[in-house]
């Protein structure tokens, strides 16, 4: 390896890959057998954090940023005048092994621009991960992007070595895809997605029947949606995610606030990436996956956009005042989980601790419940903390601007940005 050249390649190909948001290395289950290198056990580790506060868990790179396609939202698109580079198979293998040995990373996240043809590109991706798994006995985490249009056999083989396979949908509607990524179509994206889904299901069934079955993408598949590059509303986006979770068995849908990277006339001219919107979409996604919310409880045709000022759980509670207040000493776990200001951990604690005796407000505070928020929605031994019956707007104002109001670092930062912009 030529030191200087490899550094330049790494810089270019890491830079080009960084807009793909999924970094999670969780859900991997790979043991280190026969004293090879590495393992992936459930919870992934963030080995570092970028200055924008994102987790650095994997060596996330493109094999190459040469691309024959011309997707408007992408830095690597054919018509963009950028520095191009391509790794060799061995360079990626060496980098992965050496970063891993130094405890820099949990594994590799490999994607690529489409060089020459989808199969040509996919074949190289497969060669890299095969080499890591078989020659180097590497058991760390591997996430590979399936190249849209690549052959079934190649995707199948990738599934043997990768912990996670994903295909990026990128745009939340077919119409947006046609305008912004003319060479792509939904079918080409959904076909490999279905194939991966079926591979995973088949693998699970075979595992139940036979002892020794080669693994297939055991950590499941994920995808990414770009938010703000096209006109879809939040309802459309959330419905799409919902159908991907339900119809394609996806493990994660990632939302990526569109960052202005080109002045292509097909794209909206925005000055700031829609970070709060992205954040609210993640919160909604979270509510659907872990809090038992249905998509249509959070958004409906009358309210197609998420409230940017308050989180979707609070927004839901304000629209559904009739189900509150909830008594924390008697209500079901599911209802307690729906109280704004009560997270999953505090809800679990409440349900566990009340078996030892009735809980007081003081306990709630100690369990980490955000009372500023929760006080409007709960009672404790039949007593309400907030005696007056406020209307929706007042509660909203109090939570947002009242003394000790709670705001995440992200929201504060974004509000600062708004203030500067206006």
């Amino acid at each position: 390896m030529n030191d200087q050249r490899i550094q330049e390649k790494l810089s270019i190909l890491a830079d080009a890959a960084k807009y793909d948001v999924s970094c999670s290395s969780s859900g991997g289950k790979r043991k280190n057998e026969d004293k090879g290198l590495g393992n992936a056990e459930g919870m992934g580790i963030c080995h570092s954090y970028t200055e924008d506060g994102r987790c650095v868990s994997l060596l996330k790179i493109l094999l190459t940023n040469h691309c024959i396609f011309d997707c408007a939202y992408c830095v690597s698109r054919r018509s963009n005048d950028v520095k191009r580079a391509a790794f060799t198979v061995d360079e990626v293998v060496e980098l992965t092994m050496n970063f891993y040995r130094r405890n820099y990373i949990e594994g590799l996240f490999l994607s690529s621009g489409i060089f020459s043809s989808p199969d040509y590109t996919m074949e190289r991706l497969v060669r890299i991960i095969r080499k890591l798994r078989t020659e180097h006995r590497f058991n760390g985490y591997i996430h590979v992007k399936a190249i849209p249009g690549a052959s079934e056999e190649l995707i199948q083989e990738a599934g043997l070595y990768a912990d996670r396979l994903s295909v990026n949908i990128e745009l939340p509607s077919e119409m947006a895809l046609t305008t912004l990524a003319p060479e792509k179509n939904y079918e080409e994206i959904l076909t490999p997605m279905a194939q991966i889904r079926d591979g995973i299901i088949q693998n699970k069934e075979e595992k139940a029947l036979f002892k020794k079955v080669p693994p297939f993408a055991t950590a499941g598949q994920s995808t990414q949606l770009i938010v703000g590059a096209s006109q879809e509303n939040d309802l459309q986006i959330i419905n799409l995610s919902d159908s991907l979770y339900k119809g394609y068995g996806l493990k994660r849908v990632y939302y990526s606030g569109y960052i202005p990277i080109t002045d292509d006339a097909r794209l909206p001219q925005v000055t700031h990436p829609p970070l709060i919107r992205e954040h609210r979409l993640y919160q909604t996604d979270w509510l659907m996956r872990f809090y038992g919310f249905q998509a249509d409880e959070i958004l409906d045709p009358a309210h197609p956009f998420l409230d940017l000022e308050i989180d979707p759980k609070l927004a839901w509670a304000l629209r559904n005042r009739q189900v509150f207040p909830v008594d924390i000493n008697t209500a079901d776990y599911e209802m307690i989980l729906r109280i704004p200001g009560v997270g999953a951990r505090s809800a679990k604690r409440i349900v566990a601790a009340r078996r030892f005796g009735p809980l007081s407000l003081d306990h709630l505070h100690k369990f980490g419940v955000v009372l500023k928020r929760a006080k409007f929605f709960l009672t404790c031994r039949g007593q309400a903390l907030e005696k007056r019956d406020y209307d929706e707007q007042t509660i909203r104002r109090q939570i947002l601007f009242g003394s000790g109001s709670v705001r995440s670092a992200l929201v504060t930062q974004q509000l600062d940005l708004f203030a500067q912009a206006s």
Partner: protein, 314 residues
């Protein structure tokens, strides 16, 4: 010390049915100040002594660290491995293995009052007649939970923030200074993960390390605590010749995955507190100036800073 209240031989360890529990004696004698050798076994021996003497502790402190003025005459408890083992085993009659591990973690947390916290938790557990690990309304239970959580977080951090450097003889070496004594907790993780390379993780604050020799992991100490001052002080001459390159590549990677438009140092520091930066190679000064990849054209004048200056391509 012949009479044991924790006699594990007469009570089946697993049978935690209330009927099988011993009646815990009231601590009816005058409370005492206890001193011990600072080891976990020592502390378990103190617990044994407390119930043997029926004298609750006023204080439990390592010998030499005893505070409380001239008038405190602590009872020096000599560590007794057999008694300690009996107490350790006996605890399982009153709590599950996980809760018992939390007590060990509380000990490793090095809190000044850790001994009393452990005593109070154990005493409460023995008298409660049922599993108290979820009795969050109790301050002491919550404290143990919290300390265990903090320990877990520190363990997790060390699993993340260890940065190995390869030396000429193929040893992967790292120095750490964790908030708590977590080496015992991270040994299993590193042993499993780095099974095909020799490694050493040295806790500079506590002057000992873990060393894996391709077969097993041991605790190692160095004469006079003389270890290199910091990770980079494994002098450049003994480092593998490729080591500087990988450090450089890692720094380059770190710089280029950052998205400047999303910069948020507050969040950055919350995840990676300043005190850990010393041993993180990506937070060390760069030998070469960072040159952003200038792929992007500013969307409009006055837009967010998109890398430094105008795009190369224009």
């Amino acid at each position: 010390m012949a009479i044991s209240r924790f006699s594990a031989s007469s009570v089946p360890v697993v049978a935690a049915a209330p009927a099988a529990r011993r009646v815990v004696p009231a601590l009816s004698n005058v409370p005492l100040d206890y001193a011990y050798d600072g080891t976990f076994e020592g502390l378990l021996t103190v617990l044994f002594t407390v119930y043997d003497r029926k004298a609750a502790p006023n204080s439990i402190q390592p010998t030499g660290a005893v505070q409380g003025g001239l008038f405190v005459q602590p009872v020096e408890v000599e560590t007794n491995e057999a008694a300690a083992a009996r107490v350790w085993k006996g605890l399982l009659q009153y709590m599950d293995a996980e809760a018992r591990t939390r007590l060990f973690h509380t000990f490793l947390s090095e809190q000044p009052d850790r001994e009393l916290v452990i005593f109070r938790y154990a005493d409460l557990a023995m008298r409660a007649g049922r599993d108290i690990s979820e009795h969050y309304a109790d301050d002491n239970v919550r404290r143990v939970q919290r300390l265990a959580q903090q320990m877990y977080r520190e363990k997790h951090r060390m699993e993340a923030f260890v940065r190995f450097e390869k030396t000429q003889d193929g040893l992967f070496h790292a120095t750490i200074e964790p908030d708590f004594d977590v080496l015992p907790l991270i040994a299993a993780h590193f042993t499993k993960r780095y099974a095909d390379q020799r490694w050493l993780i040295y806790d500079r604050r506590r002057h000992y390390g873990l060393y894996y020799d391709l077969h097993r992991t041991d605790i190692v100490q160095f004469d006079g605590g003389a270890m290199p001052q910091r990770s980079t002080a494994v002098s450049a001459t003994v480092l593998d010749e490729r080591e500087p390159l990988y450090k450089l590549l890692w720094q380059a990677y770190f710089d280029h995955v950052n998205i400047p438009e999303r910069k948020n140092m507050k969040l950055h520091r919350r995840h990676m507190p300043l005190r850990y930066w010393k041993y993180l190679s990506e937070k060390q000064p760069r030998e070469q100036r960072f040159e952003p990849i200038r792929n992007k054209r500013p969307v409009q004048p006055g837009g967010p800073a998109l890398g430094a200056g105008a795009a190369v391509t224009e």
